[in-house]
């Protein structure tokens, strides 16, 4: 870290994190960090990484690429359902359901994912990514009836908690009587 740059940034905006909007900092950010693990508690993670096979590392890379497509698409799709305050619990539940399905995809779904990753590697504008545009349809096919019930329950629970919180806030506001 260039300490003088930090001093300058503090004088400029008072917040070091604003450096991340600085083009010069971003240029430097093209460099790699390499391993960064610190703290004794990171040792098991470090050992885990060393234990992975080449195939598993490759799988992790593909996974990151895939999730970088699926998760934003899933979020956008669920936003379109108009769930209001139940959005967050349903979104989180849907992600968990998706993670459960990814290791055991049907052949057709596996082929679609390969096509999706290949398309993504071409760096086309999102509007021109025909395979990606099918994402919500494929996820809908992936989810079972039980999965949909799980999401419905998450929505119900989310809404109930919100109403109960409102009830609590309203009671707290009632002035004490003399």
């Amino acid at each position: 870290m260039d300490e003088q740059r930090l001093v300058d940034q503090l004088k400029k905006t008072g917040n070091l994190m604003d450096l991340t909007f600085d083009p010069d900092w971003l240029t430097e950010a093209a460099e790699d960090d390499g391993p960064v693990e610190a703290g004794i508690m990171t040792r098991p993670y470090h050992d885990y990484l060393k234990s992975l096979t080449h195939k598993q590392h490759r799988s992790l890379r593909l996974q990151a690429q895939l999730l970088g497509i699926l998760l934003p698409e899933l979020k956008q799709w669920i936003e379109s359902w108009g769930l209001g305050l139940s959005f967050k619990p349903v979104h989180l539940a849907a992600r968990q359901v998706l993670y459960r399905h990814l290791p055991r995809l049907a052949e057709e779904q596996g082929n679609w994912i390969t096509a999706l990753i290949n398309e993504n590697s071409q760096d086309l504008p999102i509007a021109e990514q025909a395979v990606r545009s099918q994402t919500s349809h494929v996820i809908a096919q992936m989810f079972t009836v039980e999965d949909w019930h799980e999401l419905a329950e998450a929505a119900t629970e989310g809404m109930s908690q919100t109403v109960l919180q409102i009830s609590q806030i309203a009671s707290d506001k009632i002035p004490a009587t003399a």
Binding site: M1, D2, E3, L6, V7, L10, K11, N15, L16, M17, L19, T20, A29, A30, E31, D32, D33, G34, P35, V36, E37, A38, G39, I40, M41, T42, R43, P44, Y45, H46, D47, Y48, L49, S51, L52, K55, Q56, H57, S59, L60, R61, L62, Q63, A64, Q65, L66, L67, G68, L71, P72, K75, L92, R95, Q96, Y99, L102, P103
Partner: protein, 159 residues
């Protein structure tokens, strides 16, 4: 950091697309997360990009003191880690670069917010010391109380 971040780190920092016989890795992120929820001196952060966790930072903010003077409190990095696909020792090129740098920058900002002047201390795992040397953080040598991990400390940011 919220519970779902921890859940997702536990799920997706492992290869979920292939069947593996990977034993439980024994990570204790959840312990640190619970600590941060129970005790205000601990804080847990996650860097979330594209909707999933790319790096983790756990800090302690009240008990640790500077190597230079016990009068100076600092932010102590209990743990910092990046997702497997963001590590150049594993992936070339990494999926996201400088995740560690960004988290470390945030630790310094927290130190400023707390009135500690940007002082940050940490014990680097062997193999990661090169990163901290490139960050120009002052090296204080192996610490026998921490399994001889090398202790590094940033001094205050001075105008």
């Amino acid at each position: 950091m919220e519970q779902h971040h921890y859940d997702e780190v536990n799920t997706i920092w492992k290869p979920i697309l292939v069947a593996t016989e990977q034993a439980d890795a024994g990570w204790i992120w959840d312990y640190k997360l619970r600590q941060s929820q129970r005790d205000e001196r601990y804080e847990a952060y996650v860097l979330d990009v594209d909707g999933f966790p790319q790096g983790l930072l756990f800090i302690e903010t009240q008990w640790h003191r500077s190597h230079w003077s016990q009068r100076w409190p600092l932010v102590y990095v209990e743990a910092i880690a990046t997702a497997p696909w963001n590590r150049s020792d594993i992936e070339q090129p990494p999926w996201l670069k400088r995740v560690g740098t960004l988290l470390l920058l945030y630790a310094r900002q927290r130190s400023l917010d707390l009135g500690y002047g940007g002082r940050v201390g940490l014990h680097s795992l062997s193999g990661a010391e090169g990163f901290y040397r490139r960050q120009q953080i002052v090296e204080h040598g192996p610490d026998p109380e921490k399994d001889d991990l090398v202790y590094f400390e940033y001094n205050a940011i001075s105008a």
